[in-house]
Amino acid sequence: MSEEKCVDIDYVSNLARIELSSQERNKFQSQLGEVLKYFEKLQKVDVEGVEPTAHAFPRFNVWDQDEVQPGLSAEQALQNAPKQRSQQVVVPKVVEE
């Protein structure tokens, strides 16, 4: 892994859907390299046969009754939407002509 310390910052920031300024881009490039170098410690741990922990106290199959419960009204649910019309969120066009 150690040759991989250089992060393709444009690729990853696109994956994360975060636009970076060129200043941030340069700063993160070197800082993330440093952090990844620090993460290298993990590559030396013997985890052969060890189960991963997703939660400290795993709980499975938490079911709810399939019943209608009171919830937010459309107005409440949309009260923080940056653009809306007729109880719907307005977004830029997402399909090509």
């Binding site: 994956l15 975060i18 800082q31 952090v35 993460f39 922990t53 400290a56 009260q79 997402v94």
Partner: protein, 489 residues
Amino acid sequence: MESSLLTSATAAELINLLKGGSVSSVEITQAFIQRIQAVDQKVHAFLHLDEEDMINQAKSSDQRRAQGKSFGQLDGIPVGLKDVISAEGQPLTAASKILENYISPYDATVTRKLKEAGAVIGGRLNLDEFAMGSSTENSAYGPTRNPWNLDCVPGGSSGGSSAAVAAREIPLSLGSDTGGSIRQPASLCGVVGMKPTYGMVSRYGLAAFASSLDQIGPFAQTVEDAALLLEIISGHDPLDSTSYPSNVPSYSNELKVPLEPCKLGLPQEFFGEGMDEEVRKSIDLVIEFYKSKGFEMIELSLPTTDLSIPVYYVIATAEASSNLARYDGIRYTSRSERATNAIDVYAKSRGEGFGEEVKRRCILGAYALSSGYYDAYYLRAQKTRTLIRKDFDQAFKQVDAILTPTSPTPAFKFGDKSEDPISMYLSDIYTISTNLAGLPGISVPCGFSQSGLPIGMQLIGQALNESKLLSIAHVYDQEHKYGRKAPSL
């Protein structure tokens, strides 16, 4: 009654005053509002304060009391919320520009429980943006200052919650702890702060950072007050499928039962290099105190300690990058004016709305989860997390709780670590493994440095046994009461 007497009182003392009828909730609430007006320009613990709403809540509490219909112990006592905990009709910014105009449409479960207990919900408390940081320097609305020395950080991420209690602006507050975000600021501000067992307190209505690590918990001047607040917010919640179905005892009543001396573990890995000498001396005195009370000290080893920070930062950033995908500029966050297409809405809104540390962590997390790296980073971190848990399982076969410092140093100065992510990450070295193992941990003030900065000790307990942990902490706290000392502001 003089208002400074009210603001310096513990919640337990205020409860007695209310019961005795010598003071009203309105008088208490007004005293704290005046205190906030007097000192918060210096401290900047609060991002928002709805004074009218607080007074109205206090009036309702006084009316209930007059009719003999008080809801419970905390009826009429003000409680501040970290600005990631929803309260209906109140702002929730998470100290981020992206949520600048957000108003919570519903109550978090902890907020609902506090309301049902009659507490006066008061104020939104500052933090590192989305709880990512250890100093509150990452708040988009300016840092909180340490009430003991305004040139120093209050710790973080719940720095507003700890500083407000330390500055006597609020008797109780709630924070959230993902890798130490309650305990470290409690230590740096000289107050009590507790992270419960993962699953003891519902996360419903908490703006998520790293879901498998986040827990809400109390800040107070004393262990007794922390117990009072914890017993109200704890308990199973069907709205949080990770919440634990267990009965919540009355922690505050259990503190009254004398504790038999028990065994405390001292993990050698925590007492190595990097610990400040003054912190070491304070902890040595704590050890002597417990010995004098008949407690047995057992040196033990947690061999995976040095892996906890890399494991934490892989898991926490991966979960954060996934959790924070919801702040997309579409549904409830501000939207970039420059966005012309759908992808632009995401990337530009997030680029404009997120601060530097949040961007850094989301990008790091996206990298750790990305194709080709998932096994090497995220999966490997989760497997190493299992080894960390097993270390603690072994330790708790020998001891009832583990004693460590909370932070390697007292509060540091602004700017000292903010340009070096790894050095900032290392300030959480003693607190992080507790979250990875899901265990309860409490920070209790245990002295001051020569320059007058608070020092805290941490006790880590067995899962789901907050009663014992609180009792062990109370043995120390009731005789020392360092959290009762107030800074001069």
